[in-house]
């Protein structure tokens, strides 16, 4: 993996704990932040966290050389770790101490090797330093970057685009989105994704024409994308027609993310 390992004091200090969790197979959360803190600051952070979430045991370490704050949370899952990180972020932002992004990770949800995960979290954060003060969840290392399938979402509804983008990204897909048919076609031509998820009620051009044009592009490029329709349209006529047009799945809104993902999986894995 990365050769230029950073040697942070955090790793040294958390090492034993992490080994312990790993050995006894207990969950733990890790939060790191690029922040400028002094002794006093760290102290008041601890007081703050103890007050806000008194039930949670945690360890703090601060790497003065690289300005990294590290927190180790005892016995908690990823969801809680992320939520806990919101407290930390609130505190740091209020004191104007946050310098870059924050990364959260969880053993065993993000990685089955706790120490390695921590060092990679730190590495990633310091190498790709950004000014965006956001919380990022450590990317599941079991998914190799080269394996990722790409998905194009075409829907005029921003809520759908947001929900799906975030959800599918977490599931390891590369997600692109367009909000109207014309734009969707342009994107398709450039990206040639593995899967297209489209609404029928589009603007500019309708969903049927959109699917039709995709098939035409496929013919020219000899490529092939699976098409999944995710739509408000409940009429059987539409279901029948989209299948005739060559769509592989038809899901109506409101929809279940779990079902959607299962179907996506089936589609993209079958094609390989």
């Amino acid at each position: 993996m990365t050769e230029t390992r950073m040697n942070s004091s955090i790793i040294q200090s958390f090492k034993h704990f992490l080994h312990y969790y790993q050995a006894s197979n207990l969950p733990c959360g890790l939060i790191i932040a690029h922040a400028a803190l002094d002794q006093k600051g760290i102290h008041s952070l601890i007081t703050h966290l103890e007050k806000e979430e008194p039930a949670t045991a945690f360890q703090v370490n601060y790497d003065t050389e690289h300005h990294i704050l590290g927190l180790l949370l005892d016995d908690c899952d990823l969801g809680y770790t992320h939520f806990y990180a919101l407290h930390v972020k609130d505190f740091l932002e209020e004191k104007d101490r946050l310098m870059g992004e924050m990364v959260v990770g969880n053993f065993p949800e993000n990685s089955d090797h706790a120490e390695q995960m921590l060092s990679r979290m730190i590495n990633e954060m310091m190498i790709e330093q950004t000014n965006k003060q956001e919380i990022r969840v450590f990317d599941n290392e079991t998914i190799q970057k080269t394996d990722k399938k790409s998905v194009l979402i075409v829907d005029h509804d921003n809520s759908i685009v947001h929900l799906l983008t975030n959800y599918l990204q977490r599931k390891g897909y590369i997600v692109h989105a367009a909000t109207d048919g014309k734009h969707g076609l342009e994107q398709y031509q450039n990206l040639l994704p593995d899967l297209v998820i489209t609404e029928i009620n589009l603007s500019g051009i309708g969903g049927y024409q959109f699917i039709n044009q995709i098939k035409n592009i496929d013919k020219q490029t000899k490529g092939h994308s699976e098409i999944m329709v995710l739509t408000n349209k409940q009429l059987e006529e539409d279901i029948k027609r989209t299948f005739e047009y060559g769509a592989a799945e038809y899901i109506t809104k409101p929809f279940s993310l779990i079902e959607l993902e299962a179907r996506i999986k089936r589609l993209v894995e079958v094609t390989e």
Partner: protein, 476 residues
């Protein structure tokens, strides 16, 4: 003589004040209705309704005459409307250009022989054929001999498969949810809603791409800007109020939804031209009232259709002359028969009298009144104060009506959120009274002259068109 001129001039002034007062009353009705409109605008789930099995299918009729430049995009965006089940029927009214060919090529349509016309349908000019492609099962193109816009609509009605029809101008753009908004309203009372009109807005200045208005902006040019405030006043201030008392006299030809059975019962759109959109509504009112049927003709201001406003004096003039002609024709043919008849209720007592006295006849009163005042001022300069005061009242009153309409716009629709836009619209509302309004009256008068000159030749089946360019040639 001098006194007579003054008295007549003052009479004309009172006349205008009365118009404005009635209009003000109508705006008050609009205000009464606006909370109801806001509720249904904000809290109906159009997103989900647009896919529901339970909405009625609608046939969209698109009469087209020499529309080769825009027809393709328009049909594409009509096919893409967010609606559960609709068909688009383009009626090519014997265009001299490639209107048919453009569509046939784009959608790979095939020719079919026209179906024999059944009973109960409307007579039209000869239909040459129907074009269709099963790949686009919702699109039909009817190719027929030239017969005018009304005739094309009748041909479309004959052919349509569904019991609701919507008439749409080939050069206007519907918003994606326009149809579902009207249909939802219709669903609340399908027996009584015989017609529901959409709101027409001016697209000049807006950013348009892919057959959609992407960004709403006020027009930059003078004439479209004046028409923008004029339309807001007429549609939001006027039609909401008129519909509240069920006295709507027109559903814009640019966008409206109708019950097909009643259109056929009243004999369809009238052959000949112009004014067919007002004609059908008056006939519907008359039919329903004659037969003592409960009914409503409503206006749905959140269902929006964008249209390009004429931006030259010449085209605007010919449009307004046409409107004048149409209005006069309808009032002579239908209005006089309903005037002050108790049986026709609001129509008989208010709408028709208002239209005859204050719309149709207004050029005569206003022009003569104005001339009288000018004459009086020439004879006697001392009366200027009275004249000025009355003129000021009229301008202020008119502006007030404009401001009221802008308030309605702000309450329920907010298409122009910028404060700067508001002041611009207010400015043009005032500006309207210095030249534009007078020109409008003059055009209407000229329309009347055209009407009387050509009255004899106005048979039922004359070759007519409704296209601007054609109109210009005709005028030349």
């Amino acid at each position: 003589m001098r006194d007579f001129l003054l008295v007549y001039g003052i009479f004309a002034m009172y006349y205008v004040i009365v118009i404005n007062t009635i209009y003000f009353g109508i705006i008050m009705f609009s205000f009464r209705k606006i909370t109801r409109i806001m509720k249904e605008t904000f809290y109906s789930k159009y997103e989900f309704l647009s896919g529901s099995k339970h909405m009625p299918p609608i046939s969209i009729l698109v009469p087209a005459f020499n529309e080769e430049l825009t027809i393709k995009e328009n049909v594409q965006s009509l096919l893409a409307l967010h609606y559960p089940a609709h068909e688009v029927i383009v009626v090519n009214d014997g265009s001299g250009d490639n209107t048919s060919k453009v569509l046939i090529d784009e959608f790979r349509l095939n020719y079919y022989k026209p179906t024999p016309v059944e009973q109960n349908t409307l007579s039209t000019a000869e239909v040459r054929g129907v074009y269709y492609n099963p790949e686009f099962p919702n699109l039909y193109l009817i190719d027929k001999e030239n017969g005018g816009k009304a005739d094309s609509l009748n041909a479309g009605i004959n052919f349509s498969h569904y019991s609701l029809v919507s008439s749409i101008d080939a050069d206007s753009l519907l918003e994606n949810d326009a149809l579902i908004r009207i249909a939802r309203k219709y669903m609340e009372n399908p027996e009584e809603y015989v017609a529901i009109g959409g709101n027409v807005r001016i697209a000049n200045g807006c950013r348009i791409s892919n057959g959609m208005v992407q960004k709403v902006r006020l027009p930059k040019k003078l004439l479209p800007m004046l028409q923008t405030v004029e339309y807001i006043k007429a549609f939001l201030g006027g039609r909401i109020g008129w519909s509240d008392i069920n006295g709507l006299i027109i559903v814009s030809g640019a966008f409206g939804v109708f019950r097909k059975d009643y259109i056929i019962k009243v004999g369809g759109y009238r052959g000949g031209y112009p004014g067919e959109d007002m004609n059908i509504i008056i006939k519907l009112h008359r039919y329903m009232l004659d037969h003592n049927l409960p009914y409503q003709i409503d206006f749905c201001p959140d269902a929006v259709c964008w249209t390009q406003a004429p931006d030259t004096f010449k085209i605007l003039g010919s449009q307004r002359k046409r409107w004048g002609r149409g209005n006069l024709k309808n009032m002579l043919e239908l209005g006089t028969r309903m005037f002050m008849r108790p049986r026709y209720k609001v129509m008989g007592w208010l709408t028709i009298p208002y239209n005859i006295i204050f719309e149709t006849l207004s050029p005569y009163f206003r022009i003569t009144g104005f001339l009288a005042l000018v004459g009086y001022s020439l004879i006697d300069m001392t009366g200027w104060k009275i004249v000025a005061v009355f003129m000021l009242i009229n301008v202020l009153y008119g502006t007030l009506l404009g401001l009221g309409s802008l308030l309605i716009e702000e309450l329920a629709f907010r298409r122009f959120p910028r404060i700067r836009d508001y002041f611009k619209m207010v400015l043009y509302t005032i500006l309207m009274f210095f030249g534009y309004r007078q020109l409008g009256i003059l055009w209407r008068f000229m329309g009347h002259i055209q009407f009387f000159r050509k009255n004899n030749s106005w048979g039922t089946m004359t070759r007519t068109s409704w296209n601007e360019d054609e109109e210009k040639e005709e005028a030349a």
